[in-house]
């Protein structure tokens, strides 16, 4: 079936079980022509699973899908493509060591191979030679039609996250999608990119139907005509977006009222806790990622570092924690120079770190929660004596922290990697905060987390500030930065562009400075 347009898409009574988890339970939804449906819910609510079923990636245990009132069964994504459905996954489905054109050719060749009615010679010719030029022309045509700028000859690994997302959109459209599914399309984008994407999707909704998954309510309000809310694998609400406020939707999503805390403390910060002077650090490709960077964070102060990712944030965090070599310059933590010290020595000086890649750098995923909680202190009392581990103390520590930080798990002996993103972040924060640090670096602390977890983590950071800890908050979420920071430093091309006080910063102003505009 290859419909020219999808006038309606309906799913009925979809249920999917994974070992030990009921991911989707009896979900029914429908989307009409030109509609934009926002599918919202916390992490683990079953949104992505449901969309993977719609794409033929998972087989539902029960339930049916109808397109234009005809039942369809998808055994693989190519069946879904053939019906005109395309999906942009949250983790981009692009092969990093292929070019944009090759990536798209990969799927297009697949579509053509399905066209068995072609004469044998045509098929043989197609199998013998990859016609990249034709694919390239197709890409250029699509990207011009929708105003999506992509470089067809770039390798995927050379592209930024925003560019990769455009490639994903072009790819999906090249496959002939008339119905787009977008899984958290803005989760890795900068504010500008997010605005552009929303404007783009609004234009596209004139020609296509769209389902998008999100837990950012501003986007839901801005873009969608209908909203469906999932909680714990069940559909708890569906209705018109215009009829409901953001607060209503948030309450239905989490099951309780949510508010994100705001830094309103009048307390004056103390002495300088972290001083970075003329810091030069190289990036992975040998370029100077930090180019004479200067920054001061005082005790009891949160400094938000705003910037488009790739402007030196990662390198700064790694240099401050000893994970990356410092070319020249000084890093003073409470007066002690950290340059040239090992991570272990820096940790001993009182540095805490909530890393960007929480699953890889923040925890050892296969080790238990209780072990992850003592990773930094296992070598000394009370957790070990004379090289022997004291399990009793480790258990007591784990139980106390689980309680205090509301780590939701079946037990502290389960592998930390099996937890949800929010709970992993709580494990990391519990470990770092319980060590009584002098300074904490938090990199994208709520990226990809749902509102409940984000609220909790922000409260913890503010509490830590009030205890006199200096905090460097690195984020691309301007709302997060404006809510929490005492001062905001904007990083651009490895330098601090400008530092603003809490009152002066607006989203617009920061957005422009992040793009390189110095004076506003």
């Amino acid at each position: 079936m290859t419909p020219n347009a999808i006038t309606s898409l309906r799913i009925e009574h979809i249920t999917k079980r994974f070992p030990g988890v009921l991911a989707c339970s009896d979900i029914s939804l429908s989307v009409g022509k030109g509609e934009v449906l926002a599918l919202v819910g916390e992490n683990g609510a079953g949104k992505t699973t449901l969309m993977n079923i719609l794409m033929g990636l998972y087989t539902p245990d029960e339930g049916k899908i109808y397109i234009n009132n005809q039942e369809v069964v998808f055994k693989s994504p190519s069946d879904a493509f053939a019906c005109g459905i395309g999906m942009v996954h949250q983790q981009y489905m692009l092969v990093p060591n292929l070019t944009v054109t090759e990536n798209i050719a990969l799927g297009m060749a697949q579509l053509q191979d399905g066209a068995k009615q072609d004469p044998f010679l045509t098929r043989a010719k197609r199998a013998a030679k990859l016609d990249l030029a034709a694919v390239r022309r197709h890409i250029v045509a699509i990207s011009e039609h929708y105003g999506l700028a992509v470089d067809p000859d770039a390798y995927i690994w050379q592209l930024s996250v925003g560019e990769q997302q455009r490639v994903e959109l072009v790819k999906t459209l090249c496959f002939g999608a008339k119905f787009l599914i977008l899984d958290e399309p803005t989760s890795a984008l900068t504010p500008q990119e997010t605005d552009e994407l929303i404007a783009l999707l609004r234009r596209m909704s004139a020609e296509l139907s769209i389902i998008f998954i999100s837990h950012k309510l501003a986007e839901v309000k801005a873009l969608s005509s209908k909203v469906a809310i999932l909680r714990g694998g069940r559909l708890v609400f569906r209705g018109n977006t215009a009829d409901h406020s953001s607060a209503d939707i948030a309450a239905l999503m989490t099951g309780h009222e949510v508010y994100l805390p705001v830094n309103q403390s009048k307390r004056e910060p103390g002495k300088p806790m972290l001083e970075v002077r003329d810091l030069f650090v190289r990036g992975d490709r040998g370029n100077m990622a930090l180019n004479k960077l200067n920054l001061t964070v005082r005790a009891g102060e949160i400094v938000g570092l705003a910037g488009v990712s790739g402007n030196g944030q990662r390198e700064l965090a790694e240099a401050l924690t000893g994970l990356r070599m410092i070319e020249s310059g000084e890093v003073l933590l409470d007066g002690v120079n950290l340059a040239g010290k090992t991570p272990r020595q820096i940790i001993a000086q009182g540095m805490g770190y909530v890393p960007e890649e929480r699953n890889i750098e923040g925890i050892v995923p296969t080790m238990s929660i209780r072990e992850n909680l003592v990773l930094k202190d296992i070598g000394k009392p009370p957790f070990s004596h004379a090289g022997l581990i004291s399990n009793k103390k480790i258990d007591q520590n784990a139980d106390a922290l689980r309680e205090k930080f509301d780590i939701r798990c079946s037990g502290v002996n389960v592998a930390a990697g099996s937890l949800s993103g929010g709970n992993i972040q709580k494990v990391i924060l519990a470990r770092e905060i319980s060590r009584n640090p002098k300074f904490l670096i938090a990199v994208y602390p709520i990226r990809g987390l749902d509102m409940g977890a984000a609220e909790f983590i922000h409260k913890q950071l503010l509490a830590l500030r009030d205890q006199g800890v200096g905090i460097l908050l690195i984020s691309e979420e301007l709302e997060e930065i404006i809510n929490l920071s005492d001062r905001i430093a904007v990083i651009f091309k490895g330098q601090i562009q400008r530092t603003l006080g809490r009152g002066e910063a607006t989203q617009r102003k920061l957005g422009m400075m992040m793009a390189g505009v110095k004076e506003i």
Binding site: Q91, N97, N103, L106, K129
Partner: protein, 316 residues
């Protein structure tokens, strides 16, 4: 000295052919994400089957040609079947590839040895395929002997270098293979059957390994013994890393290794006795290890998901 260099190259080029065929095959395997450490076993079976047919049927002249060719084809076929068997173990059942590969190596080598004793026994050779002299060109001084009086399979092996390059980089199938090796999840999301692609790559790669074995028994040694393959399967696997998964790089590796080996043979033949030959025997292996230390380590070249089984519904 000139004689010495000619001898050394004339020995080295044929020596590289088996390695080249096997490691080109392994390149395709690994590009698809499957790491076949059992290459040695597949080569042993190829070597046995390849000589079994000429040994049983015999014949002379044109008939011998056909029979020998049948032997080579049978070796490729047996190789492909072993590759698919390995595929069932590591793709369908998701067994760890390194361990399964060692199993395949022991199985192939052992089976080839046993069948040899059952069907042939004793050290018996075959007439096999001889080198051909290309008219006129082979009469050129030096290069004639080195490049234009080789076994047909040597030419075939070197022709396979551009052929495999074309296959991997210019055909839709090659694109699918590379995608499955680097990011199977992405390939899957575009409707590519990752398992099927990996089976195909394994069948192709192992057929090449079978052919490499048959080259040794039918064209090179013209005899089969338990130790004929002698670790070349493992060297072939190492050469794939050495060549950074590119057919041209793999050819460079195969030549470097074989020329180093030829050097030590030539040195022995010329009887330079002042230098202990044992050190020269080590030379090729040491060379490969040293070069492996220095070759580029760019993350963006090879198959990132090499050795990782793919299961769509496994949540990561």
């Amino acid at each position: 000295m000139l004689d010495f260099i000619v001898l050394f190259l004339t020995v080295g080029i044929p020596l590289s052919s088996a390695l080249l065929l096997a490691s080109l095959g392994e390149t395709v395997n690994q590009r698809s994400g499957v790491f076949n450490l059992g290459c040695e076993g597949v080569m042993s079976m190829g070597a046995f089957v390849g000589m079994l047919i000429p040994f049983m049927v015999g014949g002379a002249g044109k008939v011998a040609w056909v029979v020998n060719l049948a032997g080579l084809l049978a070796a490729a076929l047996v190789g492909a079947l072993l590759g698919l068997l390995f595929g069932v173990v590591v793709i369908k059942f998701g067994a760890p590839q390194g361990i399964a590969g060692i199993g395949l190596q022991l199985f192939g080598t052992g089976l080839a040895g046993s069948l040899y004793r059952h069907f042939i026994g004793g050290a018996q050779g075959v007439a096999g395929i001889d080198a051909i002299r290309i008219p006129i060109l082979s009469d050129l001084p030096m290069v004639g002997k080195m490049l234009f009086s080789c076994n047909p399979m040597v030419y075939f092996a070197f022709l396979m270098v551009p052929a495999v390059h074309y296959l991997l980089f210019k055909t839709p199938w090659g694109l699918r293979v590379r995608a499955c090796g680097t990011m199977p999840r992405a390939a899957d999301s575009m409707g590519i059957d990752v398992s099927r692609t990996r089976y195909q790559a394994l069948a192709f790669g192992s057929a090449m390994a079978g052919l490499a074995g048959a080259y040794l028994s039918v064209c090179y040694a013209k005899i089969f013994t338990d130790t004929l393959v002698g670790g070349r399967g493992f060297i072939a696997v190492a050469l794939v890393y050495f060549g950074r998964w590119s057919p041209l790089g793999v050819m460079g590796g195969a030549l470097l290794f074989s020329l180093a080996q030829a050097l030590q043979l030539a040195v022995q033949a010329y009887g330079f006795t002042t230098f202990p030959y044992e050190f020269l025997v080590m030379l090729p292996y040491v060379l490969v290890i040293v070069v492996l230390i220095f070759v580029g380590k760019s993350k963006h070249v090879g198959p990132a998901m090499l050795g990782k089984p793919f299961n769509r519904e496994m949540r990561t």
